[in-house]
Subunit: 665 residues, 2 copies
């Protein structure tokens, strides 16, 4: 496997230009035609593949990519226009600020995340209509840039707060980060553009103001850190990396003011190398960790990378929901203490899951540990896929694991002020999640597979067309055909004109029992982790990966107090839930208790569990001198719903964790 | 029993002046010498007794009253001065606002709550030194009043927001409410005063601005509603009652703007008569409910009173912690949904418990239902008494039932910005709780007993000296001697010069099993509820109430998901908890599992439970395919601490709800 010694991934005094930046820098093994890489480290065990190298061609994720491209991106444009967040840039150019400004202080960032999503979508599809709309938006953004490069619609003009006067809450560098990420996406798909020039001037201004001798602080919301490293990778400008390094090292030294939630809220409580676990605002924590890993990768700082890896491992062991969701506090959108994971108050912000995917992907490229692909799979299926409605035009911001009361139905044409308590809403006062879903789905193909000197690694299973070349020129060309996760059969077929001779490494998810690879009539058992197989396939020949997708109970660690005495149901990577709409008479889910002694079954395309429906007795005081039983239990068998599909049939009460019938435990 | 037909409690077109308002209005049966009544309805089944009629003379509450008078009130004065919240009034008088203003928009209210506490303290003790300090503060407040009666240091001056421009968050009427309550306390203890004149002009201004034809809205934080009714009672001015009625009827009709937390936050979601349960911000909900009951009582509106009573009953059945604490959400300091009562995120604000005491007291006076006295006992022992440290100089704002991590130790000289996560703090940015504790403790004697035409009712048990007269002139003079709740023996001794011949009604708490009254050598069993006994005692003779105070397990309703599989321990009215400082080696409380089959015992003055101490195994992912057992369980017996005494030995992890050892269930 390649690593620091691999010429394609070497480190030098100057950051190497990423080889997949279209129209910028030297061509790499893929001839710069990767089609775009969401993350492009200059070192690491695995080499990421771009959007032209891995195309999703259908299935669970293909449907979502299609809806994203055909509906969600337009939907976002509509709302950005309608709410005036795009208009803020026009107002800036026309000198109508601050009077004409609309939206929150970070509204600019949603425009940038839309541009990033559009760039990946253009890279994926080559859609010139989208390109035209993209150009028009970029022109409006560019017109708002000030002569010195600064570009923010909420600060610095007469009548506005001065630039950088509120680093705790102002989100200036956060917005710049998303602008820069959008420019990186453009550089890696179609190459240079007005947006890239705008981003360069913004990044230069940041380096000037926050570099050595400048403001020795950081932004309350991390994001500029990974963006600057990626921009350094995409442009070859080392000073962007150096500025990111400064930001990463500064945070944690109490450079920001203390606030009600404590400095942990913006990870300014403890220096990154000394922290034990991710904490504070979950999205901030994720984005910052991404930036730290990126800095570590580009500077060869293994201590820094290992610190973040250790923190993420602890976070997964103690602060993560069954769905992969992170953040158990509404108050500060933040992590709770270890094992404080209430299902009913799960915040589990969609953006935090996007961040966990991005962080896990960076670690996967770095060390090839299949754990990270498990993390990505879990978060994608159970949080990111849960957020958008099937039509891609409304979203969950928070992703609760227990809905106690029927949610309100949002007006289709009204901005939601709430992160929770309603069904999926078309837009939010703080609308970070829809744009985050859009940019993730548009670039999703890139998270499926990687290569190294020896062959191909498949991390996620979806119908896909994979075409790349190894460093030595060998063609890798396979088509993946599967109905995963509905079924666990994955067919991998040699698709090129050449004979496929290389090593195939398959991630076997941690939940798999009884998995196997069938090749040339031979069945070989595979266990969770990595299965590495020498491949030697004539064009058209195939091998089959069989991952038995059977519903099963899952028990929580006894330290997770909030779900003591409960079980959940998973089927493959998907978490299931009970909705009241599936109970007799629409009974509230609180009345159901599951029989954990009877495993869940599958019938008529649904997953079923057995248990009892009780009728609790109303009491004046709910604390008694003896345990209360289930009132009038009636035996029932009830169907469950894949969690990502919940609330698609109108308001329901819902729970992922099912209390065990005490009579049957 | 007296009621609407009782001359002492009659209603008329004009609200009757309360008979215990010193120096104002006609003398009632107690000759105006009650010494002060915190609440004085003009109708109701029970007649409250004032601070001169019921004096606490020691014991659990006597110690706290002493600390409150000797330390807490001075402590509050110190911090109000130091933080400039008192100085705001000087700055207003000197024309130095808004520049010189300090503290939050509701800082004025803390000065008023201090004045209320001082008034009760003066009424209780006659302390002329306190009276002098009181006069000095009132003079500073009065100097800030504007010519038209308006008095708020945060609004209306050039450079400040205009008066009443932010009813959702401005807290103007809230502050006025506390000013008026302070004036009521003064009227009912020593009579007219400069403060009363100030409050009259404020109340008149409120009636003018918010009366018919004025602003048809309410304050985002209820408080002026009960204050205006009480002021009407204390002054005889019916228009104050009418204004309160308008405020009560208006709320719930969406007169305030919608906010992120929804209009339920300030009870503006549903009209008071139509609501099913208390909801939204818990303190706001309580104060509003008090005001509604007060309006209902003074206008004879039984439908309104019954609506609130029904809401409170449902709130107790579904939205109240074992401690009596209310509010399970940090985000909005609010109630969660039914049975959403996480112990670790219990907000259980001290002020909400004060509000629940005030609401329950109003309902008790109205209908004599002993449930309300149970509510008061529970909240006083387990929330209000938990807030202050033994020295009365630091406080809990939120009262969690489960401390997962060691709390930070607040600097003794620094204002805490946090409502939770530290030990008791001396002062807060939002410092409503210390002043609420102070006014409650100063007036606590009045909550112990009531009278009616037939005799005396004892609701709370504390060493006390009770002296009053019934409507027909019969003397009621008893001394109560008890070490309650440490011991359950309550001695009630005839103390006057006359033979005591009247009916004694004793509240038998709901937790009592095996209670009895011993009188004249006869033991008579009593059950939870009311025990009504004809008393015929020569001076010096006594009867004894025996309430067996034995530690016992308590099981939660199965719908309270967050404590499924757990038990708690109570002893009499006191809730107990486990602190890590009492575990071998200071082990974290998460490692203990209780044996629910072995009842708790008492030894060496402490309560003990048996169980096991486990050593959980660290796992990479805390959701598994089979239940996890207790790691290496070691049998232990551990002592518990009365919850109100927790964290008095430094930082500890703590839990009220103890997970049951699955091996022993």
């Amino acid at each position: 496997m390649c690593g620091a010694s691999c010429p394609a991934h070497s480190r030098g005094d100057r950051v190497s230009v990423d080889t997949t930046t279209a129209g910028a820098g030297p061509k790499g093994p893929d001839g710069g035609a990767s089609g775009g890489l969401p993350v492009s480290p200059s070192a690491g065990v695995l080499r990421p593949l771009g959007l032209a190298e891995v195309r999703i061609v259908g299935g669970f994720w293909g449907r979502r990519q299609h809806v994203n491209g055909s509906a969600t991106i337009v939907h976002i444009e509509h709302w950005l226009e309608r709410e005036g967040w795009l208009g803020n840039f026009d107002a800036a150019a026309d000198g109508r600020l601050p009077g004409a400004r609309r939206g929150r202080e970070f509204a600019d960032s949603e425009v940038y995340k839309l541009l990033e999503a559009m760039a990946w979508e253009i890279g994926r599809t080559g859609d010139e209509v989208v390109q035209g709309r993209y150009d028009a938006i970029v022109a409006r953004v560019a017109a708002a840039q000030e002569p010195d490069g600064y570009l923010h619609t909420n600060f610095g003009r007469p009548g506005q707060d001065p630039r950088y006067s509120d680093l705790e809450w102002g989100h200036e560098l956060y917005c710049f980060g998303h602008l820069i990420q959008a420019a990186v996406a453009r550089l890696r798909t179609r190459g240079d553009h007005l947006l890239v020039q705008v981003a360069r001037r913004v990044a230069d201004q940041v380096c000037e103001v926050f570099g050595p001798g400048g403001i020795e602080s950081v932004c309350g919301h991390a994001e500029v850190e990974p963006a600057l490293v990626e921009f350094a990778r995409a442009t070859g400008e080392r000073r962007y990396l150096e500025q990111a390094r400064l930001f990463v090292e500064r945070r944690g030294h109490h450079v920001l003011d203390d606030i009600e939630f404590g400095r942990a809220y913006f990870q300014d409580d403890v220096p990154v190398r000394e922290a034990d676990v991710l904490r504070g605002h979950a999205v901030r924590a994720m984005y910052f960790a991404e930036g730290a890993v990126d800095v570590a990768t580009e500077t060869g700082d293994e201590g820094l990378r290992d610190a973040v890896r250790r923190q993420f491992i602890t976070t997964l062991a103690r602060r993560t929901y069954l769905t992969g969701g992170m953040g158990s506090r509404h108050q500060d959108e933040g992590f709770g203490e270890d094992f404080a994971l209430p299902p009913d108050r799960a915040y589990s912000e969609t953006c935090a899951a996007v961040g966990s995917v991005q962080l896990a992907w960076r670690l996967l490229l770095s060390d090839a540990d299949p754990t990270w692909a498990d993390v990505i799979e879990r978060a994608l299926f159970n949080v990111v896929a849960t957020s958008p409605a099937p039509d891609g035009r409304s979203f969950y911001y928070a992703n609760t694991l227990h809905q106690r009361e029927l949610a309100s139905v949002p007006e289709p044409d009204v901005v939601s002020t709430r992160a929770s308590s309603s069904l999926r809403a078309p837009w939010f006062t703080v609308s970070c999640c829809p744009t985050n879903v859009a940019r993730t789905f548009a670039g999703l193909g890139a998270y499926l597979a990687t290569a190294d000197d020896h062959g191909l690694q498949l991390h996620q299973y979806a119908p896909a067309r994979i075409r790349t070349r190894l460093a030595d020129g060998r063609e890798v060309a396979v088509d993946v055909d599967t109905d995963y996760p509905h079924r666990g059969t994955v067919r991998i077929r040699a698709a090129g004109r050449e004979r496929q001779r290389w090593d195939l490494t398959l991630r076997i998810p941690a939940w798999v029992q009884g998995g196997a690879v069938i090749s040339g009539g031979t069945r070989q058992d595979v266990a969770p982790g990595l299965a590495r197989l020498p491949v030697d396939l004539e064009p058209g020949a195939e091998l089959v990966l069989d991952l038995p997708v059977i519903p099963r109970f899952v028990w929580p660690d006894p330290r997770i107090d909030a779900v003591r005495g409960c079980v959940a149901v998973q089927r493959g990577p998907e978490v299931f839930c009970l909705e009241s709409v599936d109970l007799p008479g629409g009974a509230d889910v609180s009345r159901f208790q599951v029989d954990p002694g009877t495993p869940p079954t599958e019938r008529d395309g649904r997953v079923w569990v057995r248990g009892v429906l009780g009728t609790p007795t109303d009491v004046a005081w709910p604390y008694r001198s003896e345990p209360a039983g289930t009132g009038d239990p009636v035996a029932v068998e009830v169907p469950l719903t894949a969690y990502h599909d919940w609330a698609n049939r109108g308001p329901s009460t819902m729970r992922v964790w099912l209390p065990c019938d005490s009579g049957s435990v």
